[in-house]
Symmetry: C2
Subunit: 663 residues, 2 copies
Amino acid sequence: MTDNTPSVSAETHRLILLPSGRRGDVPHGTTVLAAAAMLGVEIESICGGRQTCGKCLVALERGTFPRHGITSADEHLSPPDEAEIAYARKHGINLSERRMACAARILGDVLITVPEESQARKQVIRKAAGELTIEVAPAVRLVYVEVEPATLGGPADWQRVQTALAEQWGLHDLTIDPVILRRLQAALREGDWKVTLTIWQGREVIRVAPGYDERLYGLAVDVGTTTVAAYLCDLRTGAVLATEATMNPQVRYGEDLMSRVSYGMTEPGGVARMHRAIIKALNDLAAQAAAAAGIAADAITDAVLVGNTVMHHLLLGIDPTYLGAMPFALATHDAVDVKARDLGLTALHPGAMVHVLPCIAGYVGADNVGVLLAEQPTLDDGISLIVDIGTNAEILLGNRERLLSASSPTGPAFEGAHIKHGQRAAPGAIERVRIDPATGAVRYRVIGDERWSDALREGESLRPTGICGSGIIEVVAELFLAGLIDRTGRFVPDAPARCPAVRWQGTLGELVLASAEESATGQPIVVTQKDIRAIQLAKGALYAGTRMLMDRLGVDHVDRIRLAGAFGSYIDPYHAMVIGMLPDCDLEHVVAVGNAAGDGARLALLNVEQRALARRAARQVEYVETGGTPIFQERFVEAMTLPHAHDPFPRLAAILPPGAANR
Amino acid sequence: MTDNTPSVSAETHRLILLPSGRRGDVPHGTTVLAAAAMLGVEIESICGGRQTCGKCLVALERGTFPRHGITSADEHLSPPDEAEIAYARKHGINLSERRMACAARILGDVLITVPEESQARKQVIRKAAGELTIEVAPAVRLVYVEVEPATLGGPADWQRVQTALAEQWGLHDLTIDPVILRRLQAALREGDWKVTLTIWQGREVIRVAPGYDERLYGLAVDVGTTTVAAYLCDLRTGAVLATEATMNPQVRYGEDLMSRVSYGMTEPGGVARMHRAIIKALNDLAAQAAAAAGIAADAITDAVLVGNTVMHHLLLGIDPTYLGAMPFALATHDAVDVKARDLGLTALHPGAMVHVLPCIAGYVGADNVGVLLAEQPTLDDGISLIVDIGTNAEILLGNRERLLSASSPTGPAFEGAHIKHGQRAAPGAIERVRIDPATGAVRYRVIGDERWSDALREGESLRPTGICGSGIIEVVAELFLAGLIDRTGRFVPDAPARCPAVRWQGTLGELVLASAEESATGQPIVVTQKDIRAIQLAKGALYAGTRMLMDRLGVDHVDRIRLAGAFGSYIDPYHAMVIGMLPDCDLEHVVAVGNAAGDGARLALLNVEQRALARRAARQVEYVETGGTPIFQERFVEAMTLPHAHDPFPRLAAILPPGAANR
């Protein structure tokens, strides 16, 4: 049993692989690595069977397995050779427990376990609303080659690498990034004619590292109008190594999308300035994330970016002017592959690639395609609604058969803008409000403090600085539930009598949430009739967009609602339902899913097939234009009422206090 | 005869096209453009039949042509429509003489002449040694498209351009350079939804111009160790619009290749510095050439570069260190396609492409492949020798069946270096020398003056500054022909007696070409015994390399010699033969072909098939290593003698003065 030669005879043996259970007969003398491939099980290998990377360790199960028709599996692998013994000694591997699949040859019937970490296509499970499992199969791949040394009059270095790629990996017709070609000669010599290549899309060598090098990193970034969030991933394992976020520095050129578009139109060089600002932020984020993970940023060879259409254009250096007016024409709606260096992303590897997810239409961007990937509504039974609320709300509605999208101009009220004491969601902002319908007593909580305002000791205060979007939604909902405002949003005549915090200012009522003494600003924090009206406008726009999609799909309620984005995580689904932001739905099926756009970017980073899926999905989604259409205006006016003028909300009615729906 | 509709019936008519003589039957109502294509004759059209570009003008021959079986060709084309009449009026075209092939439809038998300028594949004839005709078919192509205007919720701009490319040109799956995508939207709107695209290799859009734009320019550059020569070409017509040359600024880091390699090795940042220097020179040359031609440099969308292997590496930013020592390993020997911007060639269009011709071996570079393209020795009967003489001489020898190459270390003597009064070929340098064998009278000519030194009036002088390579070759040859030096190169004892310009300095003779009074330097200009020895070494190296290739091919003379490069244009073939620089060959078959490397670059710029030819040729050439081999040393020593120690030179002997060969 010492046949250690690479000869393969006509004799075959039974091979059973666990945990997959795949089985088959393989020729005597085949390596476990090759034999597993014959049965369709890919075992990881960066070095291509050179006993260098140690990624292909498998376990030989001993004993008899009559159920599998194997009488004895002991000693049916070739004994370790010198190279394997040396590797095992160096890395502390017990060869009686684990063997290198590239070294061990099958000499008899065997039962072999391929542990999770040795499977070529690792799986990543995304846990949120609905689990989603994807294989780690990124657009970049590592390949270790041993290259013939240079000889006088022989082929050049790159041509010998090409030969090695063909002979050792069956890879043909690869090109090398001309900028990376500059690094090839030194790497070959430093690695003693052994190099690890990073190959993009099976086509182009984009990184060359001396010797064996298993570093394969990628960056997924959600470029939001206000916040940029980056996820640094290990593309071998799928693990997130670091998460970093920063303010989008373009904020200084305009807080919302339209003001950035107009800055680009009116300010000479404005587009280039905004482009450079976001690129600098991305470089900084990459460097921070790399530092946090303890890796070099220039080992990052792939990136996936998502953003709304204006962010998408600005990060590609495209003037967003034409997104600012009818007919809202995109430069491209398809995915874009571009060298990181062409965008100025110099923190990454010089050969690194960037993939930007496709857009759907003028106001439904790559961020929404990211949401689509992360949430996969087409996999669900029943009707799913996904809303990503920002200055515009992106709405996806559909099921297995059909998927609609729209963008609704909700305006900035949900973000606290155009609200008298509105502010961003930040420590000190009032985020939760309750009004006792019986006594009219008002209490609140601020971000950064777990206590309610009525649970403080004498003389203590939460020192609120203002009220954020989720707080204002709760105020309106609680006022309505307490009967202090009617379905039109107006304060009822006896409101001050029933709630001491309500007062009249001329003919308009307002709610004093915090007195001048309690607040951090020295001003009372109030919610005015105008603020309530602004929320009604915003929720009306959101609902009208949703309703248009429901009409198009022919449904009057949805089975599942997912609230994406930071704002979606803050708001309380119950209160959102009460004011009629969302269509009728069982409350337990309304969930926040966090930064789904960023999650989608990460999926497209970890699995290249997700990019194809995104392109297909983006094309299949039916975009429904809302802005300015008469039907939208009609739906919008109807939707101003609390919770809604015409639509039946039986699921909501069942959980409202008696009589609330009829006020 | 007013059937002007685009309907095409089953009826056919006879179409004869001149000057090609192609003929055939085409359906009634077909446009001349489409009908010619059916017969395999491509008529130029940038606008794709939109009566915009006026490139497809053809002439209808009138009368009867019984020889062609046409009884009457009059009135057999559809009459001009409004668009054609408007175009003709605007551009002064007489429609009774010329018609637009895209507008005129065939309604009866016709005989049509397609003038040279309307033929799609124009021909360029290179006149030098042997004529070479190539079609103008560059790697970049112009395509004019009319794009659907943007609509609300419709496809994005680039996707509508893709649709137009497919529908109007049958071009599918094109990509657009992400950097050029930035210019698409403005161009579409400025051109009222009409744009002209520049497409590279049928794959990628690399330029977008508003409306109709027929500018298509390319730059061919020969990057020499000392001189960089650029040719700006119109890629529609093949015409050279401007030629510019400049000193290679890398000269300041080292005069010859080895000193540059060692500068790169020893000086930190030296490679990057030399790379930036040549790139800056190329940007400057492009700008100068564009200014001279009256075009914008950023309308240049394609470039072909050639250079020896060290220049090749430095211009790609690759460290040439490994070219400096055995085994002289190239980073790549294949052709390289790279974005101009990745090299820093910012003077060209931002999407411009650069093609670098392949190399053959460690010391036979892309410049030699350019020579190969320009001279096409494989097309010749008999044995061709091509030598490109610089600090290294590149030698190509072969015929239809087989082609060998070598590089011979001639050193800088031919360029005037290491020669006492040697200098570069520049005004004031002595370039021609004659010695009267009877009287010993010496006369010379300098660059920039047509007169011989013995034809001046009293008191006049040519004010020579030194002697250039061609001059020193003539000195050695004339000294030998006059019997003043022997076959070993030594001055004969009675030389001073027979020639008053020869004098002894100790035991060594020297020739005084110009006295201190005559020269511009105030020093006598002399050719020393050491100078003669230096030329013998240089010519010996050149001849030894040539001889090694001849041995390999089994020939003892060649049928044709072409001297490439600037130096090759200066030297007199007769004198070069006399000193034994070149193998035996009929004198009338020794010609200078100028900058053949630059011509080759130009061919590869004008015709993309030449690039494939270059890659094939570079692979087929057999490289013969000379440096350091014992056989080379032996040949080298033999070849020091004037004209040669062992080789018979019957063709040379026939034209030598009696007895000269036996000295």
